[in-house]
Amino acid sequence: MNKVITLNLNGNAYQLEESGYEALRGYLETASRRLEGNPDQAEIMADIEQAIADKFRARLGPHKTVIVSREVAEVIGEMGPVEDAKPGSNDTATSASASTPPHGGATPVGSTSPVSPRRLFKIRDGAMLAGVCNGLAVYTHLDVTVIRVLFAVLTVFTYGSGGLLYLLLAILLPTADTPAERDAAFGGPSTAQEFIRRAKAGYYEGLKSFHDSESRREWKRKFRRDMRDWRQEFRREMASHAAQSGVAGHGYWWAWPHPGAGLWPALLLLSLTKAIITFAWILATLSLLATGAVFGLALPAGMPLWLGLIVLFVAYRFIIWPVRAARHVCRLHSGYGVHGFTGFADSFVWLGVLILLVWTADRYVPGAHNALQQVPPALHQALDSLRTWWAKR
């Protein structure tokens, strides 16, 4: 039994076996990198995706809906290595192209090139503002739309510090202008694949340790117990802090870090906890919507998707409740206005956690990466259905 991944090739959906998907992704990434700097890069990539889609379609039928890895290898072999036809690019490495196509088991080109870590750059091609989102998209291998939406949502929900972060990045990040800088921005294709391979190895290794259901239950119990103890301790701590600072609580909001305001670290910690839980919930919801499973854990048989979403939400409210309560108490006693410095500082905590979480999930949880990549097509689909619904009225 093999995992199947759905992908969008130039507007058409295809289902591929997982290893085939990785091979194809490697091929397309290499192709895109080789065409870097070519003014027609996007167009050629669309042509290539279309040609691959045609070849896939020829292999599918009414009773065959999944492209197996062997077929992906065949198609990649048929396509041949992509090489730029720029004047002056007569390097010998690509000269074998005019010979007869290789038969069978082709591997993605470039998988043996030396490992070069990617670096964060601004990328101006196709940028809306300064190319920060573009650079982030390339760096994280995510669709630029996802990054842009994240930034927009962030700016709205964080009192504008998302915009501030953008400004900072726009000033601080170098622009990838030269081919060498672009290479550094995009990284070697081998890097990406090596990363995926390693991340997966760790992921499955982790899953393996939970095979024994008894120990799994024990682990869960212990986790819950720890969480409970921790929460109780935290509330006690909060209460004592609140009692102490109640006296010195009427400082000015800019008095931070006033030693009397001992609540500050507690508030920070609470904000952090709340942010982590909230984003975990958002990621879980996204993952459920995109893949039908929460971080790879499928819903119990017979459970509809909407019920899963509700359960997730209820669980989220339940988990977040003590944190919210503690934060409320903390704020009441701190003397800082909710809309004063705490609100603004909070947003930075949120920002940091969001970036860290998305980055971590993207790097180390294969499911999350796929889920994030599924967001733009899902959005398009939702928009389309909304439009048809509107047109019907």
């Binding site: 130039n10 507007g11 058409n12 192709a31 065409l35 070519n38 003014p39 027609d40 167009e43 050629i44 042509d47 290539i48 279309q50 040609a51 045609d54 379609r57 048929e78 396509m79 041949g80 290595p81 992509v82 090489e83 730029d84 036809a85 720029k86 004047p87 007569n90 000269s95 074998a96 192209s97 005019a98 010979s99 007869t100 196509p101």
Partner: protein, 108 residues
């Protein structure tokens, strides 16, 4: 080193000429070009052809128009521009000269 390998750069250099020839004869789309080349020593793959087509379009030698196909999405059909026609003539003449030289040189 096989003859096949030895002549790789020459085949590569001639590919643009041959693609122009194929496009000149008929309005074609990429798969037609690949099919026309497949039976010859110049058999080529998409990975090579698409960047080449984009380059000669940018050079103004060919142009394309989208046409509906019975199966699947619309396709790009290529045809020569006047500039492409001139280039083809030029190249054909030059090729005739070269092959004449190759044939006649050293003969008594």
């Amino acid at each position: 080193m096989s003859l096949d390998e030895k002549f790789t750069p020459i085949r590569k250099g001639l590919l643009e000429f041959l693609v122009l020839k194929i496009v000149a004869a008929n309005q074609v789309y990429a798969a037609d070009i690949l099919k026309a080349l497949s039976a010859t020593e110049f058999a080529t793959q998409e990975g090579t052809l698409y960047p080449l087509l984009s380059k000669i379009r940018r050079d103004g030698l060919v142009d394309y128009e989208w046409k509906e196909s019975e199966s699947g999405p619309p396709r790009k059909y290529y045809e020569l521009t006047p500039k492409g026609r001139a280039r083809l003539q030029e190249t054909a003449d030059y090729w005739a000269k070269i092959s004449g030289t190759v044939k006649n040189l050293g003969q008594k």
